[in-house]
């Protein structure tokens, strides 16, 4: 498609004017920052940052923990395997011809420890390889004096715990105050904590929280705790009403 650029008007005008190329978009005006330069390869881009090495090490530790507990936590002690293990597998793969009946492989595959063994066969080598890659990147970062301190990343990880705390507090508050009151409380206190203060924000947050309750509890009748301390303090009819709808 031909792009027509109105260069004359740009040259003669003293004041800066928006750059317009398409008459259909004449009414459009946007105040936008300079665009970032992308390459199509950026879609698949990945860069290991700070904290990657620590987390990769933790991932390997978790994988090794599952490997160590494999023999006690997967029914390995109740395993039923043919006595002559190596001969059996050699016959399974057709490496040798044996005499007598070959025990069915299906009987082994049904046993409880097989699935965790398949998982660990993926998990443990992947964790080792990942740690190796992470270590190589870490060494590169040290060599080229890139930031390696975990401090900032660790702080971010810790900061998220506060909001996990909010979630757990909300979860514990619902059986005491009921879904409606707890949601209104969380819906206003958490934004307040996040500095969305003032009557406008509080009004928006209260309305949004109330809408959530109306949609999910009143409308869709989603299950929420039934034995609620606050509702039990209300007169019987009011309590029944609140339990049914809120």
């Amino acid at each position: 498609m031909q792009v027509r650029v109105d260069t004359d008007s740009m040259r003669t005008s003293a004041a800066p004017r928006p750059f317009r190329a398409d008459p259909r978009a004449r009414a459009f005006a946007a105040d936008v920052p300079p665009d970032r330069k992308f390459k199509i390869e950026d879609l698949m881009a990945f860069k290991r940052g700070r904290g990657d090495l620590v987390f990769s090490a933790l991932a390997l530790m978790v994988a090794l923990f599952f490997l160590m507990t494999f023999f006690t936590e997967t029914g390995w002690d109740k395993r039923k395997l043919p006595g002559d293990g190596w001969t059996y597998w050699a016959r399974q793969f057709g490496l040798i011809d044996g005499e007598g009946r070959l025990a069915r492989l299906g009987r082994i595959l049904k046993q409880g420890w097989v699935a965790p063994m398949i998982c660990l066969a993926i998990l443990v080598p992947a964790a080792v390889l990942n740690l190796r890659d992470s270590w190589r990147v870490h060494r590169w970062r040290v060599r080229f004096r890139q930031p390696t301190s975990l401090r900032y990343e660790g702080e971010m990880w810790l900061r998220a715990l506060e909001f996990v705390g909010w979630f757990i507090a909300y979860t514990l508050l619902v059986p005491v105050l009921g879904y409606l009151v707890s949601t209104l409380l969380l819906g206003t206190l958490l934004p307040w904590r996040l500095d969305y203060r003032g009557p406008r924000w509080m009004g928006i947050c209260l309305a949004a929280s109330f809408t959530i309750v109306l949609v999910f509890r009143t409308g869709l009748q989603i299950r929420t705790p039934v034995n609620i301390w606050l509702y039990d303090q209300l007169p019987q009819q009011a309590a029944a009403f609140m339990k049914t709808w809120f």
């Binding site: 936008v32 940052g49 009987r107 590169w140 996040l194 989603i222």
Partner: protein
């Protein structure tokens, strides 16, 4: 044909139509807000679907799935921030067009390209259903337990191979998801696996708890600990209908991209990113002005948006045909199938053909509703961009509770969801992919279920691969592994940046 008419009849029920409308418009709005993707919306909505009719639930989720990428193009074009991760490529040319004062044109082109991509793959699926429907009924006999086991294994291998730069991480997280699926009491042999004597773990982790934690709570934490964006103000005016006329000028690019989207959607574990990658590269290769790509080339925008939107309908095909989800969103939809007692897989062509027609027709209507909505209300939907991120985080956290608690009335579920959310948060911070966890969980369960069910027919190891389908799939697995290994070894150069 009878199934088609029954399928259409099922769609025109008031409940289904309302779900379609809510899903489409809701998905649009969710897509337009950077920071929430369809995965989070679907994760939060999943528990609600337990209380809804099967078709209503699926149409609701399909509405969100099918429309969110349309919405995601709005911030990508207007403020250079993709609404959903798969709209990243749209920013390359879409935003450059905005900088040139062609925002309305870019949006119009994005909508029309998305509509074309969406309809193309749906019509291909519907056409295949009508043309091959009678033969597809025989698929049930062709696909045994071992074949589906092998298809799920291929899905896992493709998923790991598709994460080119993070294959080790993808394998690690896939293995982790797989391991989570194994936790609990194995009913066949009454063996407790990794329960450590904890009673809660005996029935195993609920899929919804893991999904809501990993996707929704982690995203809420990510938003809450971040900063609010200050997106630039963008005013939008002008007609959006011209995009359909302009799309006709780029019909070759649109057709190729829709084809890529459909094929990549069908292949489990691949999805939108690879489809876009191929489409954009091809569009650039065949363009007379390849230098314009990345600087506001309409063909680039068409390639990206068409490929994206062709994927959802195509991604339903492996889910419905084999019962094997190809990516996270269809994996989440499997929950609804399980809940409805409908077993996706080859038998569905025999038992519920009308259900299949209903789903694809619903997806077609979703595309129509979305385009009609966008053409009339883009200006208002664009305002969603300015909702503060941290406030969104607070409300996602609130919605996550409803999602998790309502499944089994269990506070322990909420605690575990919080734990998975925290883990997901750290993964997001490290830029590790989350999708392999969910697919490991779902594909792992399928693999083990099918392997155990088919164990009766497995005498020797050769019995795993001596059927036509399982043998072909096994060869495909070997080819994928070989190609991946060769390409990895060729690019052995260490590049930490």
């Amino acid at each position: 044909m009878e199934a088609l008419w029954t399928g259409i009849d099922n769609i025109f029920q008031p409940g289904v139509l309302v779900a379609m409308l809510i899903g489409s418009v809701g998905g649009l709005a969710i897509g337009a807000v950077p920071g929430i993707g369809p995965a989070i919306a679907i994760a939060i909505l999943l528990p609600a679907t337990v209380f809804l009719d099967d078709l209503v639930s699926l149409v609701l989720l399909l509405g969100v799935y099918g429309s969110s990428m349309y919405g995601g193009a709005i911030p990508a074009i207007l403020i250079n921030t993709p609404g959903t991760p798969v709209n990243a490529l749209t920013t390359y040319d879409g935003y450059a067009m905005t900088r040139r004062g062609q925002a309305a044109r870019a949006l119009a082109l994005a909508y029309s390209a998305s509509f074309f991509g969406g309809c193309f793959s749906i019509l291909i699926a519907l056409g295949a259903l009508m043309a091959f429907g009678p033969y597809l009924r025989d698929l049930g006999a062709l696909f045994g337990q071992r074949d589906i086991f092998m298809a799920a294994a291929l899905g896992g291998v493709l998923l790991i191979a598709a994460h080119r730069r993070t294959m080790g991480i993808a394998a690690l997280l896939f293995g982790f998801g797989f391991l989570i699926a194994m936790i609990g009491r194995q009913t066949l042999k009454q063996v407790d696996r990794y329960t450590f004597g904890i009673e809660y773990l005996y029935p195993g982790f609920n899929l919804i708890v893991v999904i809501v934690g990993t996707f929704a709570i982690s995203q809420a934490l990510f938003l809450l600990t971040g900063k609010d964006d200050d997106p630039p103000r963008a005013r939008l005016s002008g007609t959006l209908l011209a995009g359909f006329v302009e799309l006709a000028r780029h019909r070759v690019v649109a057709l190729i991209s829709a084809g890529y989207g459909t094929i990549m959607g069908i292949i489990p574990g691949v999805g939108e990113f690879v489809a876009q990658f191929f489409s954009y590269s091809t569009a650039r290769a065949i363009s007379k002005e390849p230098a314009r790509f990345g600087h506001g080339a309409p063909e680039g925008l068409v390639a990206s948006e068409t490929a994206n939107n062709a994927v959802p309908a195509a991604a339903m095909i492996p889910l419905l045909a084999l019962g094997v989800p190809g990516e996270a969103l269809t994996a989440m939809m499997m929950v609804v199938f399980f809940d409805a007692g409908i077993k996706p897989g080859p038998d569905i062509f025999e038992n519920n053909p009308d259900f299949l027609f209903s789903l694809f027709i619903a997806l077609l209507l979703v595309n129509l509703i979305v385009v009609a909505t966008l053409l009339t209300t883009s200006k208002y939907i664009a305002r969603m961009i300015y909702i503060p991120n941290r406030l969104l985080g607070a409300f996602i956290l609130m919605l996550s509770f409803v999602g998790v608690f309502s499944i089994r009335n269990s506070f322990t579920d909420c605690m575990f969801a919080a734990g998975f959310g925290y883990l997901g948060y750290i993964l997001r911070r490290l830029d590790w992919p989350l999708v392999p966890i969910v697919l490991g969980l779902v594909l792992g369960s399928i693999m083990i279920e099918k392997l155990t069910a088919g164990a009766g027919q497995i005498k020797t190891i050769a019995d795993l691969v001596n059927r036509p389908v399982s043998g072909t799939l096994f060869v495909a697995i070997l080819v994928v592994i070989a190609v991946t290994l060769v390409s990895t070894l060729r690019q052995r150069r260490f590049d930490p940046t």
